[in-house]
C-alpha cells in the first residue's frame, strides 16, 4: 500500500502541460534529467539560462524545461545562440543539438563557435542515426552498418567530434554515454561554469531506429551495450587502432583556460572607448 506520494525533486524545473515527446526508452529522458540535476546542484537561476536547440529529437529536450527556450532551424542552434550570448553576456546559454543537426548540416557553426570560444555550453546528443526522419545514415553511423539509406552497408567512416572540436580550440571537451550519468552530470556542471566554448558529446541509445538495425531494441540492453563499447581515454591508448575503431572513447579530453569571445569583445569596447577619450 502506498502511504505517501513523493514529488520528483526536479519537477519544479518542468514546464506545465507539455506532453513528453520521446519514444519509450529514448536516451533524451536521461539527458534531460542529467541537465536538470546539474542545474539543481549548481543552484543557478533558471531565469538566467537560455536553452537553444536545433531540429531533430534532441531539439525537443528543452521544450520540457520551464525556462526561456529558443527552438531554431536545422543545424543552426549554435549560430542563434551566438547572437543570444553576445546580445546579453549575463545569460548562460546552453545548446542542445544532435549528431545530424550539429555535425552534418550545422558542422561549420560548431567549428567556428569552438574557434571563437563563444561562451556556450553545447550538448550534442549522438544517437548515431537520423532518428526523427526514420533511421537514415548519419555522419556518426558506424562503418558497415545498414540503415534506411545504406541498405548495403555504410561505406563512410564516422566523425570523431571531440577531436574536431578540440582541434578548433574549445575550452572544454568531453564524451560520455547515457550509461555514464554521474560523469555526465559532473561534466555538465564543469562545462556550465567554464569560460569559453564547452562541448559535451553524449552517445545515446535510439531503440526505435538504431535498435531496429542492430536487432536490439530493449533500452536496458542498449545501455549495457553502450557501457560495454565504452573505453576510458587513458585505457584507449593501450589498445590497437583496429580494436579501438569499434569502441566509444569516453572521458574529458580538454579542460583549458581561454578568453571567451564575449569577454574579448567587452575588452575591445573598453579599448576603443579609451582611445576615443585620449
Amino acid at each position: 500500500m502506498i502511504s505517501k506520494v513523493y514529488e520528483h525533486p526536479l519537477i519544479k524545473y518542468l514546464r506545465k502541460g507539455i506532453r513528453q515527446p520521446f519514444c519509450s526508452g529514448c536516451g533524451n529522458g536521461i539527458i534531460a534529467q542529467c541537465i536538470l540535476r546539474a542545474i539543481n546542484d549548481l543552484k543557478v537561476d533558471m531565469k538566467k539560462i537560455v536553452f537553444v536547440s536545433g531540429i531533430g529529437c534532441s531539439g525537443w529536450i528543452p521544450t520540457l524545461f520551464n525556462a526561456d527556450t529558443l527552438h531554431t532551424t536545422h543545424g543552426r542552434p549554435i549560430a542563434f545562440a551566438t547572437g543570444v550570448k553576445l546580445g546579453n553576456p549575463e545569460l548562460k546559454v546552453v545548446v542542445l543539438t544532435g549528431d545530424g543537426d550539429g555535425a552534418a548540416i550545422g558542422g561549420n557553426h560548431l567549428i567556428h563557435a569552438a574557434r571563437r570560444n563563444i561562451e556556450i555550453l553545447t550538448i550534442l546528443v549522438n544517437n548515431r542515426i537520423y532518428g526523427m526522419t526514420g533511421g537514415q545514415v548519419a555522419p556518426t553511423t558506424p562503418h558497415g552498418m545498414k540503415t534506411t539509406t545504406t541498405p548495403y552497408g555504410n561505406i563512410e567512416c564516422p566523425f570523431d567530434l571531440c577531436k574536431l572540436v578540440e582541434a578548433a580550440g574549445a575550452a572544454y571537451v568531453a564524451r560520455w554515454t547515457t550509461f555514464h550519468v554521474k560523469q555526465l552530470i559532473s561534466s555538465i556542471k564543469k562545462g556550465f561554469l567554464k569560460e569559453g566554448f564547452s562541448f559535451i558529446e553524449i552517445v545515446s541509445q535510439c531503440p526505435i531506429q538504431y535498435g531496429k538495425y542492430i536487432d536490439l531494441q530493449e533500452p536496458a540492453k542498449l545501455l549495457l551495450m553502450l557501457k560495454d563499447l565504452s573505453i576510458n581515454k587513458d585505457k584507449a591508448k593501450t589498445i590497437n587502432e583496429k580494436e579501438l575503431k569499434e569502441k566509444i572513447i569516453i572521458g574529458e579530453f580538454v579542460d583549458r583556460e581561454v578568453i571567451g569571445f564575449s569577454k574579448a569583445y567587452e575588452q575591445l569596447i573598453i579599448k576603443v572607448r579609451e582611445k576615443r577619450n585620449e
Binding site: 525556462a67 526561456d68 527552438h71 532551424t73 549560430a79 547572437g83 546580445g87 545569460l91 572607448r273 576615443r276
Partner: protein
C-alpha cells in the same frame, strides 16, 4: 547614453549609399550587426565595425550568411535591434532563417544590396532581380515588408523606417537596395537626431502575461532572461508559443494571424511617391535606382508637353494595391508603363491590380544590369503616346 551624437552630427555630408545605411541603422537604435563578406554590401559592414564598438554595440563577422541572420534573430530576442546585410547569393542562404524570424515574429532588418544574378552573376552591377525573392524566398505562406530606396538619402531614411516597422509589427523588414544605390555618393542632410521618430517594440508589463505570439494587433515581445520563460519555436505553435505539429487547426490559425497582422495595418505600412499626376494620360511606375531615370524622363517629357506622371514605390511588399488603384480613379490615365531592371517582377502585381481598367506595359532597360537611359524612356513614351 547619447553617445551616438559623437559619431553622428547633424549637417550635410557626401556619403555612399552603404554608409548611409549603416548610419541610418545606428540612428534607429541598431546595436547588433552580423555579416558575411559579399559584394556590393561590404561597406555597410565596414562602417558598422567602426561605429558599433564605439557605442557599445556588437559587430560580428559570422561564418556564413545563414549564421549571420541566425545570430541576428538570437540577439533580437535579447532586446537589441539587430540587422544583417548581404547581396543576392547571401540573401538566398538567409531565406530559411528569414522564415524562422517570420514564424517567431522576431523584429530584424535585412539589407539586400542587389547584384546581377542568377548565381554568382555579376557582383558589382545592379539588378532588381530579388523582388520576388524578398516576398516569397522562404517556404510556406507568410507576409513580409520590403522597402526600396532610390537615393543615398532614401537609404538613410528607409533604414530607420525599416527598424520602426520591424519593431512595431514584429516582422523582418527587407531593404532592397542595389549595387548602384549602395555604391553611389550623394549629398545627405542628417537632421537633428531628436527630430527623428524612433519606434521600440512593445514589451510585456506583468510577469503573469503569457501570450506572446499571434495577435493581429501584435503581441508584446518578452526579452530572454527577464523571467517570462518564453517558448520560441519555428514549429507551428499557439498564442503561448507552445508547439502543435499534429492539428491543422493550429497551422490555419498561425498563417492567418501572421497575414492579418500586416494586412490589418497595411495603410500604416505602405508608401508610394507621386509627381506630375495632374492630367496624366500615361504613368511611369518604378522603384529603387530605376526611379531616378524615370523621374528624369518624366521631366523631359513634361518639357515637351507630354502628359506623363511619375509613381515611385517606396514599399514593394506588402504591395500597395489600394494606393495604386486610387491613382487611376479620376479616369484620365490610359496607360501605365512599369520600369524595372529585370525581366518583369513588380509589373505582374501592377497588372493584377489594374489590368481591367487600363493598359499595363513593361519596359526593361536596353541592357540588363544598367538602369534605363532617360532618353530611351522618352523615346518609348513617345511611341506609346503616338
Amino acid at each position: 547614453m547619447n553617445e551616438i551624437s559623437e559619431i553622428i552630427k547633424p549637417g550635410n555630408y557626401l556619403m555612399m549609399g552603404n554608409e548611409a545605411c549603416a548610419l541610418g541603422a545606428i540612428i534607429a537604435g541598431c546595436r547588433f550587426f552580423a555579416f558575411y563578406p559579399i559584394t556590393p554590401a561590404n561597406e555597410i559592414a565596414e562602417y558598422m565595425s567602426i561605429y558599433l564598438p564605439k557605442i557599445g554595440g556588437i559587430y560580428i563577422q559570422m561564418e556564413d550568411e545563414i549564421s549571420s541572420i541566425a545570430s541576428v534573430i538570437g540577439a533580437s530576442w535579447t532586446g537589441l535591434k539587430a540587422m544583417t546585410a548581404t547581396s543576392g547569393p547571401g540573401f538566398t542562404l538567409m531565406q530559411e532563417n528569414i522564415g524562422h524570424a517570420i514564424m517567431t515574429e522576431t523584429p530584424c532588418v535585412i539589407v539586400d544590396v542587389q547584384r546581377c544574378g542568377p548565381s554568382t552573376g555579376t557582383p558589382a552591377l545592379p539588378m532588381q532581380g530579388d523582388v520576388y525573392q524578398a516576398r516569397r524566398g522562404s517556404h510556406g505562406e507568410y507576409e513580409i515588408i520590403a522597402l526600396a530606396p532610390s537615393s543615398v538619402k532614401d537609404t538613410l531614411l528607409l533604414t530607420i523606417e525599416a527598424f520602426n516597422l520591424s519593431e512595431k509589427y514584429r516582422v523582418p523588414v527587407i531593404i532592397l537596395s542595389d549595387a548602384l544605390i549602395g555604391h553611389m555618393m550623394e549629398n545627405v542632410e542628417i537632421p537633428d537626431l531628436s527630430s527623428i521618430k524612433i519606434i521600440n517594440r512593445k514589451k510585456p508589463s506583468k510577469l503573469d502575461e503569457s501570450q506572446f505570439f499571434l495577435s493581429e494587433d501584435i503581441s508584446p515581445m518578452p526579452t530572454l532572461g527577464s523571467g517570462y520563460k518564453v517558448h520560441i519555436t519555428g514549429s507551428t505553435h499557439d498564442e503561448k508559443g507552445i508547439r502543435n505539429v499534429y492539428d491543422p487547426i493550429y497551422v490555419d490559425n498561425l498563417v492567418h494571424k501572421i497575414y492579418a497582422k500586416i494586412h490589418k495595418h497595411i495603410d500604416d505600412i505602405v508608401k508610394i511617391e507621386t509627381r506630375y499626376l495632374d492630367n496624366s494620360k500615361v504613368l511611369l511606375l518604378s522603384y529603387g535606382s530605376v526611379a531616378r531615370s524615370a523621374l528624369h524622363a518624366v521631366k523631359l517629357a513634361r518639357k515637351e508637353g507630354l502628359k506623363v506622371g511619375y509613381v515611385k514605390l517606396i514599399t514593394l511588399w506588402p504591395f500597395p494595391e489600394k494606393l495604386i488603384s486610387n491613382m487611376i480613379n479620376n479616369g484620365e490615365v490610359e496607360k501605365i508603363i512599369v520600369l524595372e531592371n529585370n525581366m518583369g517582377q513588380i509589373v505582374n502585381e501592377v497588372k493584377r491590380v489594374l489590368h481591367k481598367d487600363i493598359e499595363v506595359k513593361f519596359l526593361p532597360p536596353e541592357v540588363l544590369g544598367t538602369i534605363h537611359d532617360p532618353m530611351y524612356i522618352l523615346e518609348n513614351l513617345k511611341k506609346n503616346m503616338g
